[in-house]
């Protein structure tokens, strides 16, 4: 009985061993049968750099030395390259299709936000600093500087004029005179040189110098200062105030006189000048039917000024005399011009 049981057990073990051995021998073959090459996974040809930029070509026209030059750039350059922005004038931007134009302008605004911040920054900027601010942003900043000085000196207020009309007319005069080119120089046939944003003539510069020496004016400018927008616009604002006083509060006559002098202010050319100023003021400065780039930037960058003006509040909260001006006059009333009668 025991022997039979042992035999059965041995047979069972032998069978089990044979089975296991058989499986062990068969396994590699079974495994081989299960093995099959996996489906290929394509390696991603992701051009990561292309995900991060827009390489589509865009045709532009840039302004180089007053010539229009057609160029083709990558869209990415238009969105990022300030040296390209510096070559695009308003009309060049107008040719850029939407929505690319708006996207690029927004980026440009973001990049130059520090330079657009306000009087404290403008006062510290040199002509060279402004060279690297693209023309459309420069123009908007210059308008705001002209508003600042018009408000600061209360131009025309003493003659009973509303500050809004006066400031707008003054900004337009700057535009008509120089097209907001702070480096503008015009030399006429007599050798007279008109300089900077206000196109300050030899006569204007000498007269402002005399007024300063006679203590009618609280600042004095060197010739190079007329290329510094902050100071040049100050000179232009003061000059325009003189013209308003000479015109006895007649804003149109003052505008004509700015270009031609008070004695020639009623001549035909002066009339044409005034017509030009009024047209540009409505179109651009008051932004009533300006081309798209101007219109966009004006709304975007001068919206606050419109709101404050509509609310009857000053555009610039700070009425403290600017630091540079204080330095120039040392002490006393920096708004001396206001407290004295016009030189007539």
């Amino acid at each position: 009985m025991i022997r039979q049981l042992a035999l059965i057990l041995v047979w069972a073990l032998v069978s089990a061993a044979a089975l296991v051995t058989g499986i062990a021998l068969l396994l590699p073959r079974v495994e081989a049968a299960f093995d099959r090459p996996p489906p290929p996974i394509p390696e991603p040809r992701t051009a990561f750099f292309d995900l991060l930029r827009d390489a589509r070509p865009v045709s532009l026209v840039v302004t180089e030395a007053w010539q229009k030059v057609p160029i083709v750039v990558e869209t990415d350059d238009l969105l990022r390259d300030p040296t390209l922005w510096n070559r695009l004038h308003f009309d060049d931007w107008d040719r850029v299709p939407e929505p690319l134009r708006r996207a690029a302008l927004e980026r440009m605004i973001a990049r130059y936000q520090p330079q657009l911040a306000g009087p404290d920054v403008w006062e510290a900027m040199t002509a060279e600093d402004w060279d690297f601010v693209p023309q459309p942003l420069r123009a908007m900043a210059f308008i705001r500087i002209s508003e600042y000085w018009a408000e600061y000196y209360g131009i025309g207020v003493g003659s009973g004029l509303g500050p809004r009309d006066t400031a707008a007319t003054f900004a337009t005069i700057l535009m008509v005179e120089s097209w907001f080119e702070h480096r503008a120089v015009h030399v006429d046939e007599n050798g007279n040189r008109d300089l900077g944003l206000p196109q300050a003539s030899d006569y204007m510069r000498v007269r402002l110098e005399h007024l300063h020496r006679a203590r009618w004016l609280d600042f004095r400018l060197e010739e190079r200062d007329y290329f510094n927008p902050w100071l040049a616009i100050l000179a232009g604002a003061v000059w325009f105030d003189l013209m308003i006083k000479e015109a006895r509060g007649d804003l149109d006559l003052a505008a004509r006189a700015y270009r031609k002098g008070i004695f020639a202010a009623n001549h035909g050319a002066a009339e044409e000048y005034l017509h030009n100023v009024k047209q540009k003021r409505d179109l651009y400065i008051l932004n009533r039917a300006a081309p798209p780039t101007w219109s966009f930037l004006s709304r975007r960058l001068r919206g606050r000024a419109r709101v404050r003006r509509a609310a009857g509040r000053p555009l610039y909260a700070s009425r403290v005399p600017p630091r540079g001006l204080r330095k120039r006059i040392g002490s006393g009333d920096s708004r001396g011009l206001q407290s004295r009668p016009g030189p007539g």
């Binding site: 996996p38 489906p39 991603p44 990561f48 995900l51 991060l52 160029i71 350059d77 060279e128 060279d131």
Partner: protein, 291 residues
Amino acid sequence: MPGVQGTGVVVLAAAVAGCSAGLESRIERVRRLEARYLARQGHERAEQGDMRGAARAYAAALAADPGLVALHLHLGYAYERLGNALALTDPAREEALRRAAVCHRLAADSEPALRRHALLRLAGIHGPASLGELGLLEGDLAELVKLDAPEADWFLALARLREDRQRLDESEAALLAAREVLPHAAVVHRELARFYRRHERFDAFFAVLERRLESEPDDRDALHALVEGCFYRGFRDYRVGGDARRASVRRGIVAAERLLHLEPEHAEARRYLDLLSRVREGLEAGRDPRP
């Protein structure tokens, strides 16, 4: 019969011991066999386009045999395709891509042979969706550029990400490293020059172009950029003194002439040659042609 009994016990003990010793490894082997079977199923499903079924089979195969590390890449790819098939706004898409990223990361970390491919997939998943998020793509790209055969694209993308985050020094470093590793890649020189131009670092901008033109004098992109840059500097940059201006204008004229020699119909080169010549005439006559 004690002899027979003793022999039986020894045989029994040996058989039991032998069986039990091999049992564990055999069970393991059977599990691996099951994993292979599941992997095969996964491959078949994937080939049939059934990515959900493939993902299930791959996941089960990996559970049965975690040693099949290559399956991480396949599982990740299956999740990737599942996710990419869904709408951008579908939360399931994000979840599928998240799982795919986990799988690719495991593949990259566990199998050196798959690392490059897995990292590429990982970076591809992060792609535009992850821009500005925790530098995920930046981390992947930083790893990619350290591999044996880096590509210019990775350096450029890495540099751009850093530039967008205003880490300009690091961005410049990535571009300079790209030039070091890939000295003949025109795109690297071009993007390095553009970087300097965007940040108005004109000395560095000109140095990059000059270096490129030393090795590749006929690189039209470099010549074109040099012509425009020289005019910009010679005409617009009032900080530049007289001699430097004259040198810049001269250099621009030489580059424009070279470009026109290579491509006579290059309208921009002709225009800039004309402009630069006028500036040179003005300077020689003692007139500043600028406003």
